[in-house]
């Protein structure tokens, strides 16, 4: 760690990890509700658990991104963060908002209230006051990092990160646009949801991955930057009109079927490029960085993002296919592997890289961390496969044969049991990861012969 | 300069020929392949002369191959339809 204010990232990462634990645990609870429909119906209804699962996912991923920005921007722009106080205020706003959200959902407080009650749209259920808080916090964040970058060195990494983060915050404003016409409502809703994960977040991903490759492999900055610009351009070119793949059946004109199919098919390319980038950098790299876990997560991120977003996305993105699979377990399979591969693994990579430095020690317990990678990723992959099978069966019975939804669900029970099993692996992996980066103060397992190498 | 003018002459000639052919509209299965074949010639001229890929012959031949493949499939679809 070269700059004092990089320490801010520590608070962000720790909060993110706490929410990560909550998020996957709630997933597991829901996984059991799928097996036994009466589980916790009174205390924690499925819809509430689902809101908490998805919202805490988004919040902790965002906190991770903020932490990553606070960590890497000082190093890139070669100066301290403009105002650490503002950064902590921003975090406090997020924590208060999150607590507010949890209480509001859990007890269903202020139902129907314009300002205080929960809103009904997936991922954007937060009450308006929390949304406003998010905007304020985002503004503080943008001000803080923009000031830092403006006064310091500008690199491809800071440029692309800033573009992604500004876009992310501006698009969130569409969360306030909620027309009563359901088709329009959905249209705007996807401006946030799709243009986040398949637009601006991808830029953040390119930025963080670029930074990690630069540090871990020691490849020339020039080469890394060229890749990053190409990836960012491809992501925006395909992702913006790729939104059309959500406009097939919501009442928008028919030409969206072609715009959506064509552009979203191209969305596979930036994810492929990201994977190629990571491997080419490692292959070209001269540096043997001691933080093997961070490298494993980085490569895992690139590969799993390609499969989750690229392959599983393409699987149901052509409108001829989506006509049958829309909203089935295929979607859930894709949603899980895409989010996990692209953004969960990305955060865990930068956290694995930054944590030892933030806490001023060597990267201990690589083995535990790497074991958590295999446990979590293995669990996630298995969950993806079971849900894909479930989705295929569901598509056939429900959409082709025309059986009733609940009758079909009964026939999928065995898949849901297996999904629960894989969920257990994911949760254990997550807890192991958190333990490995937070707890140990010394090497648990004897290290092999040490290779003396300059490391950053 | 001379290269550009030559390119332009080919482009205009091919465009005029394409249009004339389509307007006359002879009843033959060869019409679609000929129309698209002329389009292929034009795209290759634009790539080589206008976009200056002639300076980079290896890249030009790679791109030409890809474009040719595109036209082969387009012609196949056109003939079936």
């Amino acid at each position: 760690m070269k700059y004092q204010t990089q320490k801010i990232a520590l608070a962000y990462f720790l909060t993110a990890m706490a929410l990560f634990a909550v998020q996957v645990t709630l997933g597991l609870i829901m996984g059991w509700i799928y097996v036994d429909g009466n589980f916790l119906t009174e205390i924690l209804p499925f819809n509430v658990a689902r809101m908490l699962h998805t919202n805490s996912l988004i919040v902790w991923l965002l906190l991770g991104f903020f932490g990553a920005a606070y960590y890497l921007i000082p190093e890139e722009s070669e100066r301290e963060i403009h105002s650490p106080t503002l950064a902590y205020i921003q975090l406090a706003i997020f924590v208060i908002g999150t607590l507010g959200v949890v209480l509001t959902y859990f007890f269903n407080l202020f139902e129907g209230n314009f300002l205080l009650g929960r809103e009904g749209r997936e991922f954007l259920e937060q009450p308006k006051w929390v949304k406003a808080g998010i905007v304020v916090a985002a503004l503080i964040f943008l001000f803080n990092i923009s000031m830092t970058v403006l006064k310091g060195r500008k690199t491809a990494i800071t440029n692309i990160m800033l573009l992604g983060l500004w876009g992310l915050a501006l698009l969130f404003l569409f969360a306030f646009v909620n027309p009563s016409n359901l088709a329009l409502d959905k249209q705007y809703w996807w401006y946030v949801v799709h243009l986040w994960v398949e637009g601006t977040w991808e830029l953040v991903m390119a930025g963080i991955l670029g930074f990690l490759m630069l540090k871990l492999t020691g490849v020339d900055r020039e080469i890394v930057e060229k890749w990053m610009y190409v990836i960012a351009a491809l992501a925006l070119f395909s992702g913006i009109l790729g939104t059309g793949h959500h406009y097939y059946w919501i009442g928008t004109p028919g030409y969206w079927q072609w715009i959506g199919s064509i552009f979203s098919s191209l969305e596979v390319i930036p994810f492929f490029a990201m994977m190629a980038f990571a491997f080419v950098m490692v292959w070209k790299g001269r540096r043997d960085h001691p933080n093997k876990a961070a490298l494993l997560w980085s490569l895992g991120c690139a590969v799993l993002a390609f499969f989750g977003a690229g392959v599983w996305g393409f699987l149901h993105t052509l409108h001829g296919v989506n006509f049958y699979t829309h909203g089935t377990q295929i979607t859930a399979a894709h949603g899980h592997l895409a989010f996990f591969g692209a953004y969960v693994a990305l955060n865990l990579a930068i956290i694995s890289y930054a944590m030892p430095q933030l806490r001023g020690r060597d990267p201990y317990n690589q083995v535990l961390n790497m074991a958590s990678f295999w446990l979590m990723s293995g669990g996630m992959l298995f969950m993806t496969f079971t849900l894909t099978f479930a989705g295929t069966v569901q598509t056939h019975l429900q959409r082709v044969n025309g059986e009733y939804f609940m009758d079909v669900q009964d026939q999928l029970w065995i898949f849901y049991v297996m999904r629960f099993g894989s969920g257990v692996a994911v949760v254990l992996g997550a807890l192991l990861f958190i333990y490995a980066i937070v707890a140990p103060r010394r090497e648990v397992i004897k290290p092999g012969p040490v290779v003396e190498q300059a490391a950053e | 300069m001379k290269e550009l003018i030559t390119a332009w002459l080919i482009l205009v000639g091919a465009s005029a020929a394409t249009t004339a052919l389509a307007v006359i509209g002879p009843e033959t299965i060869w019409l679609a392949p000929v129309l698209l074949g002329l389009a292929f010639v034009k795209s290759r001229v634009i790539l080589a002369a206008y976009l200056e890929l002639r300076q980079a012959p290896r890249i030009l031949s790679g791109v030409t191959l890809a474009v040719a493949l595109w036209f082969v499939i387009a012609i196949t679809l056109g003939v079936i339809g």
Binding site: K226, Y229, V230, A233, L234, F237, S238, P253, G254, Y255, W258, I259, S261, I262, F263, S265, L266 | M1, L4, I5, A7, W8, L11, V12, S15, A16, T18, T19, L21, A22, V23, G25, L31, A32, L35, L36, L38, A39, K42, S43, I46, L47, A49, Y50, L51, E52, L53, Q55, A56, P57, R58, I59, V67, W70, I73, A74, L77, G78, I80, G81
Partner: protein
Amino acid sequence: MAQVAREELPHDLMIWVLIVSEMLVFGAGLWAFLAVRITDPPGFAEAATHLHPVSAGIGTILLVTSGLFAAIGAQRNSARWLLLAALGGLAFLWLKSHEWSSLIAAQISTETHPFFTFYYLLTGFHAAHVVAGIVILAIVALRRRSAEISAGVAFWHLVDLVWVAVFPVIYLMGAA
């Protein structure tokens, strides 16, 4: 050992990323058009009679000629030639707007027939690129920086390149 000659790519790498991406989009769109056409050849042939191949042919000649002007403008770093190229684009747009307005007057919309869904989509997308290209040409002509001119003119050639495929597939295959 064989010396692998490193070829210099004309124009900036990023403009090539854009060119290839656009070729993929239009290429996929035209393939889709031809594939859907197989499901209803008479319907497509009938729909195509509403278009005017000759006027589209004139548009094609306008575009490739404007491409020549742009190329000359880039070679000579000349604002005049570049603006002339932009003028060619404007003429093309004028033709296009006539074509669309007569179709719209005949109550033909994107939903009339799949032919017209693709027709409006592909010609509309292309025309949007013509508009963007005109703006870009005007800007680079006024600023007169050779790297920018090179990129702007490359974009203009892309607009030609795409049209050269759109023209026969949409306007002429109906007769075939």
